[in-house]
Symmetry: C2
Subunit: 319 residues, 2 copies
């Protein structure tokens, strides 16, 4: 049971209780669902920013500087660093977290790392739940930072209002290759460490790809902003671009539409996860286990067994 | 409708029809399911090998050399190169494919690349379906090659009999970090490019981690094999280790158990994908769309809407 007292402490932005609430949503328990239902009416006020890019692009440094910038404007910031823990990129993020300890002690900043290996679907659900907690707690900006290694950056883009893709000049070679995925999710690009060689050609490669996209006059065109996050260069420009994108979305009623679409994706995911849980409880799992010998022996195909399992799930029409 | 003639041409290992069959399973259509049901009784004879590792570890070169080795023994080989198309690693694989053209013209070798961005779940299903086609076509060995970037290598390990994790000396730094994931899936390790500096310390780091694992006397202990795939060094040892692992699995009735477990995971995935399809057809999607405004306005939480959607899905018990 979730007490109104607990909910109020979250609404009052009491860090200890905000932290406890996120731990609760990480558990995915029924109380977590109850809490998320209870706080929903207080969400929707925060502006959600996604920061993604390859390992080593300087995402954490940029998050760090952007947070300091917002703090100088007296805005509060909640940060969720999502680590899909790729077996080959692991490790690196820990150092980034340590670097962030400077802003972590600021009472107007909340930082949380979330990592789960092998269940990206579940991770994105919990990340969004945690963002809701921070939103209800009244943080003005919520930054979701994730290393882009396939699926996770798409999941995160499906929950943020503005998505920033951070690249470095060395990413130049792969810019052609990443056309499909990142071009769709980037509201703008940051070319970090832009004092390094290859900076101008990376920007030209990006521009070329951006220009080839279909667009009409009223479309948002992603900008490319040069930055050196470690020297605090370009941070003002990034914050300005976020505001420009926010204003664009608001003026075109697109913020509401974007958020509705995000809720649609999220509700579907919640429903699907719940169905999976129900599906494999009890006798259906047992029946499946008892059928496996016939499949291994070649008597029945996996698809025939699946058909039988499906034949007793009934979808009534929605009233 | 799938004709018996088509099925027979697959059984006869006619490349053109094997290729057509894989294109069909990639479509995911009802005919694909029909075909997979029809060929199932002829599967289970091939030995399935997974090769995974970080970008640049030399997986394709190793696949190439191992294939040539098997061909000298008059064994046929089917290769599926899975490319989860990470936005940041993309590109690289294309070159690898070109390199493989040498073995691709061999009538006893079948090569296919499969890539789908943003639907890893669906990709692994199709990869396994394609492996079934190659199995039914009578290829002796099936090699599933995938770049390890999070989820895909786990999916692949869930369908192969032996999984090889390929590393290079430079991977040393991340070996500590990858404990959890890759240790579970590796039946053995290949340290490729082992003439490079750092080779011995990478092996020691791996050994230390392997020794810390819980194990009993009868467990399989993953070996570490040194190789320089580009110079054909270590290939015999890799092939020997695959045979040793195969014999181990067979002697302990573990091959049958492992395959049964893989079928269990696969059938669950087929059922879940099918349920998703049924779930969001027609009026349920419409009802969801009509509910979104209330969610955006804060009146109802996504979890409340999910509860309502779930209330009319009924799970009958399995006869």
């Amino acid at each position: 049971m979730i007490s109104q007292e607990f909910v109020n402490k979250i609404f009052n932005q009491e860090k200890k209780f905000v932290s406890r609430a996120i731990t609760l949503v990480e558990s995915g328990s029924d109380s977590a669902t109850e809490l998320l239902k209870a706080i929903h009416k207080n969400t929707g006020k925060a502006y959600r920013i996604g920061i993604t890019g390859p390992p080593g692009a300087g995402k954490s440094t940029l998050t760090n500087q952007l947070t300091k910038f917002y703090r100088k404007q007296n805005k509060t910031v909640g940060i969720i660093a999502v680590d899909p823990t790729s077996p080959f990129t692991g490790g690196a993020l820990l150092g980034d977290r340590v670097r962030m300890s400077e802003i972590g002690v600021d009472p107007g900043v909340f930082i949380r790392s979330m990592a789960t290996r092998g269940s990206l679907g579940g991770l994105s659900k919990k990340t969004i739940d945690a963002a809701d907690i921070l939103d209800a707690a009244g943080y003005d900006y919520i930054i979701l930072e994730t290393v882009g290694v396939g699926q996770s950056e798409l999941d995160i883009a499906n929950t943020t209002d503005s998505t920033i893709v951070v690249l470095v000049p060395e990413s130049g070679d792969s810019i052609q290759a990443m056309k499909a995925g990142l071009m769709e999710i980037a509201d703008f690009f940051v070319l970090n460490k832009s004092d390094r060689p290859g900076s101008e050609s990376a920007i030209m490669a990006l521009r070329t790809i951006l220009m080839m996209r279909d667009h009409t006059e009223n479309d948002w065109l992603p900008n490319i902003i040069k930055a050196i996050a470690s020297e605090n260069f370009g941070i003002q420009e990034i914050a300005d671009e976020i505001e420009r994108h926010k204003t664009f979305l608001e003026q075109n009623q697109m913020l509401v539409k974007k958020r509705a679409e995000h809720f649609r994706i999220r509700i579907k995911e919640i429903v699907e996860l719940k169905i999976k849980e129900n599906l494999w409880r009890g006798d259906r799992s047992m029946w499946l286990n008892n059928s496996l010998k016939k499949v291994v022996d070649g008597e029945e195909s996996p698809y025939q067994i699946a058909d039988l399992l499906l034949s007793n799930v009934i979808f009534n029409s929605t009233k």
